[in-house]
């Protein structure tokens, strides 16, 4: 017993000594990490598909940068901020991490952005929605790449109000993301001459939404704003249709991914307005990427999966252009170069960390309109980056108004 304990101690000490030395060897690999939900509710939104997309980006780049091999690390944060942050710290200290991709869950991403600031490692938030990442919680190393609560509200809420949906009642997920999304939408509704009638805060992953929906209906509002995501969004929409709520209220999904629409089916989801940063069937470039992706994952890529591809590629291009992995030089390069690939055309990374690019307001097709598998959206409006992400708020100390 004692001997094995001693052996364990020796091994641990050796590991601690050997770890950093491996990193300091000549020409170390360029290490890209991905911390995401691989086993929970959001695992399909980015998850394994995001990893595949990142691998595609590395392969497309040639597998090496500055003559150094590009390697990947991935782990499951289990939707717990402490796990995400400590894994990030571990990789930074022991594995020579150069860049991190963050998956779903705003809470985890905010925790990881704090580590990025301390360890000085570029951090691309992909799956997180909370716009505080580039406001109150902004850092010099955070890039919010795909979408945020501001853009979602600017897209869906503006469109709904302009189409006559003047009075809103919200079903809000009772945590940071839900309230940020509701607040963003409320502002947009008011700015466009609409009115916010009320909201009900629904505990996360409730088993039944019908009771909350009847309250929404009782409010007399004309729009049902779904300030929730994933399974909660799907289940509330399902119940809204079952209880005939959608006869008097128009549902607005403030955050919906193509994976959600695929789960619900067009019969249920048809007519729904939503805002997205990417759709696989937009143009030749997106279709070409989607075709390659589909061959690996047997599904079309979500905006987060496409974003993970683009972010990886963007980072590698910046490293190549800067001629170094030095975080400050790479960040400077990122902020002065435009993003041009199948995901974004003329995208720019702003001083506060927002990657400003076109966003799309979509409406879900009816089963009749859908001609082939995954033919789910019609484009209602293309918002340019400025319109979608709005002006710099001044809440981020790096980007005064």
């Amino acid at each position: 017993m004692n001997i094995s304990k001693i052996a364990l101690g020796v091994a641990m000490v050796l590991a601690m000594v050997a770890g950093p030395r491996a990193v300091m060897a000549a020409d170390p690999d360029v290490v890209i990490g991905d911390i995401d939900d691989f086993s929970g509710t959001y695992a399909d939104v980015q998850g394994q598909g995001g990893v595949e997309a990142m691998k595609m980006a590395i392969a497309d780049f040639g597998g090496t940068v500055l003559g150094r091999k590009i390697t990947m690390l991935t782990t499951d944060h289990q939707n717990k901020p402490d796990i995400g942050a400590s894994k990030f710290r571990e990789w930074a200290d022991q594995h020579g991490l150069n860049m991190l991709i963050g998956g779903s869950n705003s809470g985890v991403s905010i925790a990881m952005s704090k580590v990025a600031a301390v360890k000085k490692i570029p951090f691309f938030a992909i799956g997180a929605a909370g716009s505080s990442l580039t406001n109150e919680d902004c850092t010099a190393y955070t890039v919010h790449y795909v979408y945020d609560t501001t853009a979602l509200a600017n897209g869906t809420a503006t469109t709904m109000v302009k189409n006559g949906g003047k009075t809103w009642f919200y079903l809000t997920a009772d945590y940071a993301f839900g309230t940020q999304l509701q607040n963003a939408a409320s502002k947009v509704v008011e700015a466009n001459g609409g009115k916010n009638i009320g909201a009900v805060r629904v505990p996360l992953a409730a088993s039944d939404f019908s009771s909350f929906l009847l309250q929404a209906q009782g409010s007399g509002a004309s729009v049902l704003g779904l300030a929730n995501a994933g399974g909660d969004m799907s289940n509330s929409l399902k119940a809204a249709i079952e209880f005939g709520i959608t006869k008097t209220m128009k549902p607005a999904a403030l955050l919906a991914f193509i994976t959600n629409i695929n789960s619900l089916g067009l019969e249920t989801a048809q007519g729904l307005y939503l805002t997205t940063g990417f759709y696989w069937d937009l143009n030749e470039d997106t279709r070409a990427f989607a075709k390659r992706y589909f061959a690996k994952m047997n599904a079309e890529p979500s905006m987060d999966q496409a974003g993970a591809y683009s972010a990886t590629l963007t980072y590698l291009k910046a490293v190549k252009a800067a001629g170094t992995t030095d975080p400050d030089k790479v960040m400077a390069e990122l902020k002065k170069t435009k993003v041009n690939d199948m995901f974004a055309k003329g995208g720019t990374i702003r001083a506060d960390g927002v990657m400003v690019h076109d966003m799309y307001v979509m409406q879900v097709k009816s089963p009749k309109e859908s001609k082939y598998p995954w033919d789910y959206y019609k484009v209602i409006k293309v918002m340019n980056g400025e319109e979608a992400f709005g002006p710099i708020t001044g809440l981020c100390s790096l980007a005064p108004k």
Binding site: R201, S207, F212, L214, Q215, K238, F243, N260, S263
Partner: protein
């Protein structure tokens, strides 16, 4: 408009109905747990996973073999029960002689394996099960629009619950089952095959979970995690009703569904903890549960 405590009667009636629907699910699930605990002394943490398996079995039956809802309602619980019985025979059986805590750990592990496997095979975003044509649409009750399917859930659940109660508390078979729990070796001496009886009991409890899963499939998205969020609430329901009390599980299941429904109107943020608050109160005032025998 008539009001009670400032809340319109119409709203109260509506929420009562919705609470009853949710209570129907709680009752069926907690009943299965109570059967397994009451007759076998096993704390079955895999109950939520069997509930999800019931949903998936019905969904796959429909997608791959074209088995309709009504046939699925019978077949899915049978298949899941067979799996449950295999688990009882191969694993659980060896733990009867040790502390119940080991059974809890084992079934918890089984739940993780089942949910992980479902996730690996079908992903996390879930799939939709269509409402059967005969139950599509809704009826106007005057105070609310009630989807026919939800009305069916209440009727089906209450029928199943009280049949199970009758079977266990009022028939000879039930008496034998209870005797097996009371004094297995003695019953064995009378020529009853107790191990087979226990296997069947576990299968029955698991079948109840799977049946609830099939009933739930058209109402919510079928996902691997659908059971794990429900199982903790259901355990609280069982504790409130009295561990192992069949009637307690049914009555507290329905009752808590209704209380939770009202909480959703009065203070929505608390609707996911109200059951636990009641559980704490019951444990302080009546540790054996409302219907438990001291």
């Amino acid at each position: 408009m008539t009001e009670i405590f400032g809340v319109p009667v119409v709203v109260i009636l509506g929420q009562l109905m919705l609470g009853l629907v949710n209570g129907a699910f709680y009752a069926m699930l907690s009943l299965g747990l109570a059967v397994i605990f009451g007759l076998m002394g096993v704390v079955n943490f895999a109950h939520g996973a069997f509930y999800a398996l019931g949903s998936f079995a019905a969904l796959l039956g429909l997608q791959l073999l074209g088995i309709n809802y009504w046939a699925g309602l019978v077949l899915a619980p049978l298949i899941v029960a067979l799996l449950g019985m295999a688990i009882e025979r191969l694993l659980l059986r060896h733990l009867y002689r040790v502390d119940p805590l080991y059974g809890l750990l084992l079934t918890f592990g089984v739940a993780l394996i089942i949910e992980g496997t479902l996730q690996q095979l079908f992903g996390s975003s879930g799939q939709s099960y269509p409402v059967p044509a005969a139950l599509a649409g809704a009826v106007n009750l005057g105070f609310m629009i009630l989807p026919k399917y939800r009305a069916w859930v209440i009727a089906a659940s209450i029928t199943v619950c009280f049949s199970t109660w009758f079977l266990i508390e009022r028939t000879r078979l039930g008496a034998t089952l209870r005797a097996a729990r009371e004094n297995g070796p003695l019953l064995q001496a009378f020529g009853v095959n107790v191990p087979v009886l226990l296997t069947l009991t576990y299968g029955g409890g698991v079948a109840l979970a799977a049946l609830a899963g099939v009933l739930a499939a058209p109402v919510i998205l079928v996902t691997p995690q659908m059971g794990s969020s429900l199982v903790t609430v259901v355990f609280a329901v069982v504790v409130i009703g009295g561990m192992g009390s069949i009637l307690g599980a049914i009555v507290s299941g329905l009752g808590l569904g209704i209380i939770e429904g009202f909480t959703k109107v009065i203070y929505p943020e608390a609707s996911n903890i109200v059951v636990y608050v009641i559980m704490a109160l019951v444990l302080i005032l009546r540790p054996a549960g409302l219907f438990g025998r001291e």
